[in-house]
Symmetry: C2
Subunit: 241 residues, 2 copies
Amino acid sequence: MKELLYIQLVDQLRKKIQLGVLKPGDMLPSENELSQEYQISRVTVRKSLSLLEQEGYTYSAPGKGYFVREPVTDKYILNFNEMNNAGGSAASSKLLEVNVVPPSTKMMYELQIPDDRYVIVIKRLLLAEGAPIAYDVKYLPYNRGLPLVEREIKYATFPELAGKKTSLFSIKKDLKICAKNASGEVCTLLNVEEGHPLLVISQKLYTAENKVIGWGEIYYIAEFCELNAMWSFGQRLYDNG
Amino acid sequence: MKELLYIQLVDQLRKKIQLGVLKPGDMLPSENELSQEYQISRVTVRKSLSLLEQEGYTYSAPGKGYFVREPVTDKYILNFNEMNNAGGSAASSKLLEVNVVPPSTKMMYELQIPDDRYVIVIKRLLLAEGAPIAYDVKYLPYNRGLPLVEREIKYATFPELAGKKTSLFSIKKDLKICAKNASGEVCTLLNVEEGHPLLVISQKLYTAENKVIGWGEIYYIAEFCELNAMWSFGQRLYDNG
DNA sequence: TAGTGGTCTAGACCACTAG
DNA sequence: TAGTGGTCTAGACCACTAG
């Protein structure tokens, strides 16, 4: 099986960078030089260089050349799914409460809404084999005409709830992750002792225009949630197929 | 300022997907159709479609066409840096111990080494304004001839330590994040009470060939560590420039 | 068999860089 | 001014898909 020309070139350049023959800051041979050296057209060379750039190894400086990038070491790909995290996947959920309430100060702040804008509160327990593993609270600014059918709420993901009319492609989502000790109501609901460690994940949803459309917190019993993240060069956020 | 042809096309297609005119699973017009419709060459059309694919909106099925992707909602970009996380950045660190020891069962397991392979243990405190905010332990398989100068250890990042001779471009890194309560030695070192909540981040480093070259755990006092992750379409792992 | 995306080429023109 | 990367074109040939 003959390797494609642009793959051959990108493989060779990538290897040179991985081996340290080309170091961060170093300039790569120019498009024309590579074109001559490998006897392939400039268009094909550009395809290889564009791939290398996509993979994070290089960047181009128009008028100057291509350079090896300083490796970014503090960005990881994190896997997170409300219902399915290592250590225990929630097979089901139990709806505790659905309500429309006037906003608290905290809700007004988090959702960026005025005090006369009502808020939908959804409280759930996530269960694995019948036992609670997490307590989940979500807040959405109330829109008139928004249907609140329990069945829908139970099976919808957060983005689906908050962005009912919005395409998932135009939603942004922020997570904050921290550790806390269980106390008060949460202890009762999760059936753990006061002070039991929890992993707390706050989620905030935005439209493409940065309007907040949802905010929520999930309190995982520490034993039932382990988040995983990974870093490696050339990684992609989206698989093919 | 006239927009470039391929930017115009990618903007229009992206908007159609974001607005839901084109839904997940839908087929896009073929390269030839787009080429005709927008009166631009097929090469330029392909450039636009390749960008759209890079951004995660579409994928191509050779022989069939381009399709709108089912949005991936469980992958986030996580920012993590040992020395600098929201809620308190460690301005300095204090080296507690550097040792070469025979491996414990746990170390053998985590580092995937035999029992006659020695292990370097590095223990540090991360400090902010003089006060401890995290306790950090790292384990590296011992290689003869590896210099262990304190100064180097103090200022090196984990990948730099573990991959001394290895280019950062050929290293992989996994994180595990969980919550725990402080107990024993950690309480004393971090000056917190028994049961105080901690955010624990385990790091494992691999070569490109999946050989483990380092393992470590950082115990952050919960108040001093808040991790952030975000999700949005079209995001990139690497900035330009 | 008609149509689709994938690879590759040669060539033109542009703005920008840096000596 | 010579060289660099960026945009864009027209055209050729290929393997694959699906009726």
